[in-house]
Amino acid sequence: MFQPSPWRADFPAIDALQRQHQTYLDSAATTQKPQALLDALSHYYGHGAANVHRAQHLPGALATQAFETSRDKVAAWLNAAESRQIIFTHGATSALNLLAYGLEHRFEAGEEIAVSALEHHANLLPWQQLAQRRNMRLVVLPVDAHGCIDLDQALQLIGPRTRVLAVSQLSNVLGTWQPLPSLLAHARAQGALTVVDGAQGVVHGRHDVQQLGCDFYVFSSHKLYGPEGVGVLYGRPQALGLLRHWQFGGEMVQLADYHSASFRPAPLGFEAGTPPIAGVIGLGATLDYLASLDAMAVSNHESSLHQHLLRGLADRDGVRVLGSPQAALASFVIDGVHNADIAHLLTEQGIAVRAGHHCAMPLLKGLVLDGAIRVSLGLYNDSEDLQRFFDALDQGLELLR
């Protein structure tokens, strides 16, 4: 039965891609953008760009107002208590690097940082490198056969020496929700700071950072149907107070002398230089658009498509899905077929999926795989997109076998 997406027409690029015979199933990498975002960017650039938090002139005041309104919208989206708990960065990666550098001064040799075995490189490498700089121990929490962090083992491994726990909310390879409530509660009880990489999780459902109880929550605008070049770092006020200033430059400073300076608190103290103003305004417009949708309808649509995807993969001989995906995506390999070969033939047929290690090389290595194909869904996908993918997969396999 055909399952249309009621929101497909809100994303002009989907139509454009279809005219180029492209079926877009790579939304976990980046998403297509709603018309509301295109309009906001065009309005901002068409009506007078200006720098924020600097000038007293009217364009500057308007830009600053729009920029700060976006901060309010992000705070509301995450249910942060106050807008000043939202720092804009240049992406999730730079938010995580900000944390790793900003917290470095608090750690001593021999202390521990815990990450999970399924982290994206963005939430692994900043901590790995911090551990190397400070002679700390990076503790890797194992993942079970379903693709979830093994809670029993994790609770053993997170102890009094753990200073930071940094984990994904939703795996970008396995599509599994991680057991955050238990992990975060345990880590906090041990005195560790908690960092949640919400890059994938924030895209599916609404998440309340206060309820989640994390110290920091990070996401990236472009995976949430917003523009690239913008990341969000939420922090609890006490946690934000622990951060040392990291990047230095314009607007983050209170008083500057040739030989010394004092810096502003969060958020502005962590937004050195001109921020991605249009991008932040665009993210605000995207959040308005997303907030206008029937959240339950979106969630039902996504989970029904996801079930369709999993059923179709299960129906095919030799297809092995990694873990037990619960949302948004599925990664798979095919017995006797190299993932590069199937990726090549899917590309030839205009199916845009991702092949390879998905920026999680250690995870794939742990699964003894050198790559996998990932199909990931956005709210604009419909069942015909999946049908085209399955037809292309069947054709490709027929050719290869």
Partner: protein, 136 residues
């Protein structure tokens, strides 16, 4: 410069290919004819990095002529490697430097395989080949 006989034969069949399926079949046939590497040649030193698949490239010069061997664990990439080797096998340094490999793959209808965004690695193989030839 006229094409080597093997290259001309490959070009003839790709020019006649209709659609992605025929091109993929031809690529697989080409790949099956690629001379296999010895196990010792599948070593780290011969690895081409920047590919999602395992790719090895072995280069030697005999009497001023370049001899190449290549292999991969991915089948269609083996085909692309075979198409590359039929074009460059036995050339001398001057001929190799003058050769436009992008044009060669364009004539085969495979120019998209050369894009740096492609993880198949042909782009990385060409870069590696250029490096090896320039330092030898």
């Amino acid at each position: 410069m006229s094409l080597p006989a093997d290259a001309q034969a490959a070009l003839d069949s790709f020019e006649q290919a209709r659609g992605w399926e025929q091109r993929a079949r031809l690529l697989m046939q080409m790949g099956d004819r690629l001379a296999p590497l010895e196990d010792a040649q599948k070593c780290e030193g011969n690895r081409v990095h920047g590919c999602e698949s395992l790719v090895w490239l072995v280069v030697e010069q005999r009497d001023g002529q370049w001899r190449f061997k290549a292999g991969s664990d991915a089948r269609l990439l083996r085909g692309l490697l075979a198409l590359l080797l039929v074009r460059v096998q036995g050339l001398n340094s001057a001929e190799l430097a003058a050769l436009d490999l992008r044009e060669w793959f364009t004539r085969l209808g495979l120019e998209r395989q050369l894009s740096p965004s492609r993880s198949n690695g042909l782009h990385a193989v060409l870069q590696r080949m250029a490096e090896l030839v320039s330092v030898s």
